[in-house]
Amino acid sequence: MERAVPLVVPLGQTEVFQALQRLHMTIFSQSVSPCGKFLAAGNNYGQIAIFSLSAALSSEAKEESKKPVVTFQAHDGPVYSMVSTDRHLLSAGDGEVKAWLWAEMLKKGCKELWRRQPPYRTSLEVPEINALLLVPKENSLILAGGDCQLHTMDLETGTFTRVLRGHTDYIHCLALRERSPEVLSGGEDGAVRLWDLRTAKEVQTIEVYKHEECSRPHNGRWIGCLATDSDWMVCGGGPALTLWHLRSSTPTTVFPIRAPQKHVTFYQDLVLTAAGNSCRVDVFTNLGYRAFSLSF
């Protein structure tokens, strides 16, 4: 019967383009708002989408509530990293860091509050910023990325104060040990380095790819993501996503995710992680059990 034939949605030029864009989207960064109700996610097209976590996690969550509340174009290149202060969302991509007001972001057509660029040596290509890290105690921001260095920016004045050198290849990710003022950084060279912020010196180096439990030589040695809550550290990349005990520097749990590149965040007892080649955000609870997935 002709009437029974399912209605094929006619796809015009814009619909096809949007569908393709969605298919080839990569989510690089995410950040939970200071109030804990919203999650911002940045993709490879330079867009930032704000999801309502409270709506998605509520008992009467529908398909609609898993869609973004608002989406806007933030950078020209991909949004590689985002962090939230108590009022701002800081996002970084191609060599620049931008600040947005959380309060205004849910409105349409919001503009960035300010933008800064770390002091780079001149090069044909602007080095990207892969990671941002807030250090609340000294109210500063640490940026790291393509130029293999950690830059410290004073959030009060907006000036760049320190440079930490040591990585031999570009830096993928940063994490802060809150109890002792130390910063962890993981890079393409396969090492997780601990930096003492007071002395601006390298304290410890964990070369993850040298441990058998998590090393996956066919994927390379690079460390793609890193998170820590002072005693524990999660890191993954070329080697498998692994939970480390920092003081003894031994791996404890290997997470069951096969694709290499991830973004990982500790949030209370949750581990939020976005696999690189999908439009999903996986949420782990109890350190190993996948609870559900959020989608663009």
Binding site: E2, V5, G12, L23, N44, P78, L124, W222
Partner: protein, 755 residues
């Protein structure tokens, strides 16, 4: 005297003769036993003159001795015998000497002969050589005389004089500075000039011949035309006698006849006499009748008697004044059903106002249409009003006769005998023929399309569906695939006669695209079936321009694809020169295969799941498989070609077979490569209207594969050199958290960077 000297010499000679001989013998005895005495060597040492003297002396001695012996014998005595004996011994010695001399003389003779022989041979050789040389000299002399006697053919050619040559010949032939001094070069140049001139003349001759033929033909045609005009003129004359008043056609005859005598020759004389009379008659009539413009108008509306029209037709044709044709078309148009009439009027109007390449015509028999004119209203009433009655009849018939049901189906799908033909000509002389039909009982319009090209195309196998009438217009507007009826009311009609879908009949009837309905002014709302749908001019007008433009771009893009496919099938990616800047000069990966695949096969491929899930793989699309190779690496690309190409880009899904199978689900960089061609396609469009998109995307894939393979990190565990050495210039191999490879090509500098 001589005997004294001979006496003195003799013992001396013997001594001298004996001593060396003895000495030699002694030496040879004591020292060299193997070497023996050689008389021939001795000959060289001795002087023949002396030998001769020795011979004479010996002979004299012998004579003397003989004489003494005789003397002694004749004297007789006792001691004589002893003396004789002594004399005999002496004479024996002399004999020996003589013998020796004799031998020597023999050897000398032999030697002398040898020498003579040798000398003679030499002389013979010299003689032969001399003969040869003489012969050669003679031959050369002959040749020289032959050469001297040679006469070149060019001397017979009558060349233009020198002054004329330098005056007329172009400088590149005459080359005055070279030829002035060198008579040989001069002659060559003059000959060149002669050849050039003769060639030109030959060309001219040929042209003139063809011209002559053409003119002859024209004359022939004109003659024929004039001779055919004669009986018609006669009939007009008769018609003139019958008709008291004549309108516009009279003026046309006047023009015609004023012109004819000039253009024709002998045969015109026959028509001249009546021609003049007609002219006079027409001119007289003109004075009394309306001006021509209004006359033709009144002729269009009121119409003329068939006889005069038929008679004046060739004249109109000849004068390129198709009043009558247009009039006739309008006349026929009156019999068109309303939607086709709307289409006809709008298309004609659009063609006249905006697009001269559009031509409109009506096809089919008017008589059948006239015959239909009355019945349709009854039958429509039948079908629309009395549903209950219909049901009853069908109920009655269904169980009994399937044939009648078939007839009813045919009746239902019957189309109006008249159809409208639109010919849309594109820039490259390819023509899109559209034939619009009206299905009377279904109240929908259908269209059949056909593309003809200016030049014969070699049809590549993979381009099979590109220009087929079935699919060339598919999805002109998104989702408008023309497979089901746009009129919701039809569904109920179909139910009655047991037609499941219209799509089974589409090939025969043509496609009922939505835009066709809109061009015909038919508008069907989607929600509610509406019984009375009236043809609406404004709806048609509002869609005409966009649709025509869409049709044109569709045909052009299809033809462009057609061309590209032809070379893609041979493994050549035909990048045009104005798109060259998008790619590096050296691309190693190359296209190996380009084949069409079925929709079902595409759906079953394991790496196309994302596209299928996203709803981008409808059955109206065309599907292809490309294979790109470099060394051991094979990149499969499944391509979805939307009918709306090139405004909707082709979609690529990749699967790389190299060190295991890599698709977008297990390799980020494959995913990025797909993104590069699928999402960033706008960079690859090339110059408007971006017909080159598909080719550029394929070439881009080749470049991307090069980058992918060359930047792949080398596995340290494997020994040996890399299969693909890095040749592309890259700023960094990896960048960002996703560790992307540098896929973006920067044009003038030629390096690869990250997006």
């Amino acid at each position: 005297m001589s005997s004294e000297s001979g006496k003195k010499r003799k013992p001396k000679v013997i001594r001298s003769d004996g001593a060396p001989a003895e000495g030699k013998r002694n030496r040879s005895d004591t020292e060299q036993e193997g070497k023996y005495y050689s008389e021939e060597a001795e000959v060289d040492l001795r002087d023949p003159g002396r030998d001769y003297e020795l011979y004479k002396y010996t002979c004299q001695e012998l004579q003397r001795l003989m004489a003494e012996i005789q003397d002694l014998k004749s004297r007789g005595g006792k001691d004589v015998a002893i003396e004789i004996e002594e004399r005999r011994i002496q004479s024996c010695v002399h004999f020996m000497t003589l013998k020796k001399l004799n031998r020597l003389a023999h050897i000398r003779l032999k030697k002398g002969r040898d020498q003579t022989h040798e000398a003679k041979q030499k002389v013979d050789a010299y003689h032969l050589q001399l003969q040869n040389l003489l012969y050669e000299v003679m031959h050369l002399q002959k040749e020289i005389t032959k050469c001297l006697e040679f006469k070149s053919k060019h001397e017979e050619i009558d060349l233009v004089s020198l002054e004329e040559f330098y005056k007329e010949a172009p400088p590149d032939i005459s080359k005055a500075e070279v030829t002035m001094g060198d008579p040989h070069q001069q002659t060559l140049a003059r000959l060149d000039w002669e050849l050039e001139q003769r060639k030109r003349l030959a060309e001219k001759y040929r042209e003139c011949l063809s011209n002559k033929e053409k003119i002859l033909k024209e004359i022939e045609v004109k003659k024929e035309y004039l001779s055919s005009l004669q009986p018609r003129l006669n009939s007009i004359m008769q018609g003139l006698a019958v008709l008291p008043r004549l309108e516009c056609s009279g003026t046309i005859w006047a023009h015609c006849n004023l012109r004819l005598p000039g253009s024709s020759n002998s045969s015109a004389s026959a028509s001249r006499v009546p021609g003049i009379t007609v002219t006079q008659a027409a001119l007289e009539l003109l004075a009394s009748s309306d001006p021509p413009a209004s006359a033709s108008q009144s002729a269009g509306t009121t119409g003329m008697s068939q006889g005069t029209l038929a008679a004046s037709l060739p004249v109109q044709e000849y004068l390129f004044m198709p009043f009558d044709q247009a009039h006739k078309q309008y006349e026929t148009a009156r019999h068109l059903p309303p939607p086709l009439y709307v289409l006809f009027v709008q298309a004609t109007a659009y063609g006249q106002a905006c697009d001269k390449t559009l031509s409109v015509a009506i096809e089919g028999s008017v008589d059948e249409a006239k015959a239909l004119f009355k019945p349709p209203e009854d039958s429509q009433d039948d079908e629309s009003d009395s549903d209950a009655e219909e049901e009853q009849t069908t109920k009655r018939r269904r169980p009994t006769l399937g044939v009648q049901l078939d007839d009813k189906r045919k009746e239902m799908l019957k189309r109006h005998p008249l159809s409208v033909m639109l010919d849309l000509k594109c820039k490259d002389d390819s023509v899109l023929h559209l034939t619009f039909y009206y299905l009377m009982n279904l109240n929908i319009m259908t269209v059949k399309a056909k593309v003809t090209t200016a030049t014969e195309l070699i049809t590549p196998i993979s381009a099979g569906d590109l220009l087929s009438p079935d699919s060339v217009l598919s999805c002109l507007y998104p989702g408008d695939h023309g497979k089901k009826t746009p009129n919701p009311a039809n569904q109920y009609q179909f139910d009655k006669v047991g037609i499941l879908t219209l799509s089974d009949y589409v090939l025969e009837l043509g496609h009922p695209y939505l835009w066709v309905q809109k061009l015909g002014g038919l508008h069907f709302p989607k929600e509610q079936p509406q019984q009375t749908v009236i043809a609406d001019h404004s709806l048609s007008a509002s869609h005409m321009e966009t649709t025509m433009k869409l049709l044109k771009t569709r045909v052009q893009s299809r033809l462009a694809l057609h061309k590209q496919f032809a070379s893609l099938e041979h493994g050549i990616v035909p990048v045009t020169s104005d798109c060259q800047y998008l790619f590096p000069a050296k691309v190693v990966s190359h296209l190996v295969k380009w084949v069409t695949i079925a929709h079902e096969d595409y759906m079953e491929l394991h790496f196309t799941k994302d596209i299928v899930d996203a709803g981008l793989a409808g059955d109206t699309n065309l599907y292809y498989m490309a294979l790109i190779e470099r060394g051991t690496a094979k990149l499969q690309a499944a391509v979805v070609l939307n009918p709306g190409y090139s405004s909707i880009p082709p979609i690529f899904q990749l699967c790389l077979n190299w060190k295991g199978e890599k698709t977008n689900s297990n390799d980020d960089n494959i995913r990025a490569m797909e993104g590069e061609v699928n999402v960033c396609y706008k960079e690859l469009c090339g110059p408007w209207p971006s017909h080159q998109l598909l080719t550029n995307q394929l070439q881009r894939l080749c470049v991307l594969l090069d980058v992918y393979l060359e930047t792949e990190s080398h596995d340290d565990s494997v020994e040996g050199p890399k299969e693909f050495p890095q040749e592309k210039m890259c700023l960094r191999l990896f960048r960002g958290p996703s560790r992307m490879k540098p896929f973006k090509y920067n044009h003038p500098q030629g390096f690869f960077s990250h997006r």
